[in-house]
């Protein structure tokens, strides 16, 4: 079993995942795979509005240029390899992102050409997640 995506003409690696308000409604959303993001998922303002998410806390992240951004966090489920998986999401203010915390324990293969294939598959065994 795997999660499939593709590379856009812009070079962005995209996957579509179903996101669910915990115990509530769900929507299919496009995520850019961002290996420079150490969280699980980031949600755009539009995604947060569309799901009518209620924040569970406030936090912050640092961008590549060193600037800090403050934002809300959300408790959501994503459909992952056929099952619902609970993750902590952060509002990005930009696009929706799939980060390394979600990819932990998986193999990510990208054919880095326009229209190229992206595939996420679980590794047979992975050590416990730690930072």
């Amino acid at each position: 079993m795997s999660i499939l995506g593709h590379v856009e003409d812009t070079g962005d690696s995209m996957v579509t995942l179903r996101v669910r308000v915990r115990g509530g409604s769900s929507l299919d959303m496009r995520f850019q795979v961002d290996t420079g993001f150490n969280g699980a998922i980031g949600l755009s303002s539009q995604a947060i509005q569309a799901l009518n998410l209620t924040e569970v806390g406030r936090s912050s992240y640092v961008m590549a240029d060193g600037s800090k951004t403050r934002t809300a966090t959300y408790d959501v489920d994503i459909e992952w390899l056929g099952a619902w998986r609970r993750v902590l999401a952060v509002g990005t203010g930009g696009g929706s992102l799939l980060g390394m915390q979600a990819l932990y324990g998986h193999r990510l293969v990208v054919d880095a050409i326009p229209g190229g294939r992206l595939e996420i598959t679980p590794l047979p065994a992975a050590p416990s997640e730690s930072r």
């Binding site: 806390g57 936090s59 992240y61 640092v62 966090t73």
Partner: protein
């Protein structure tokens, strides 16, 4: 601790309060033993939970304070997350 009696708080207010509590009350207690773990601080009481798993820390904090206002940070680091390859400089 933060006065949250007036209802809605902005993100800046919650983050400012959480960072202040961390800086003044928790940093010396948690660093370096818990470096890299997530800290969830309820900003009105100053109560906190630490766990390598963010949702585990959040669940315990919410169980203690069902109507709490929570700041999420990372012990030993200035922010919980980095995006776009930004370096998570340990200096806070």
């Amino acid at each position: 601790m933060a006065d949250t009696s007036n209802g809605h708080l902005t993100t800046d207010q919650v983050v400012d309060a959480g960072e202040k509590i961390y800086r003044e009350c928790l940093r010396d207690r948690l660093e370096p033993t818990h470096n890299g773990e997530c800290v969830v601080i309820e900003i009105q009481s100053g109560d906190y939970e630490v766990d390598a798993q963010e949702l585990a820390a959040l669940d315990r904090a919410r169980a203690r304070h069902p109507k709490g206002r929570f700041y999420l940070g990372r012990v030993g680091f200035p922010t919980l997350y980095r995006i776009g390859g930004g370096k998570l400089d340990p200096a806070r």
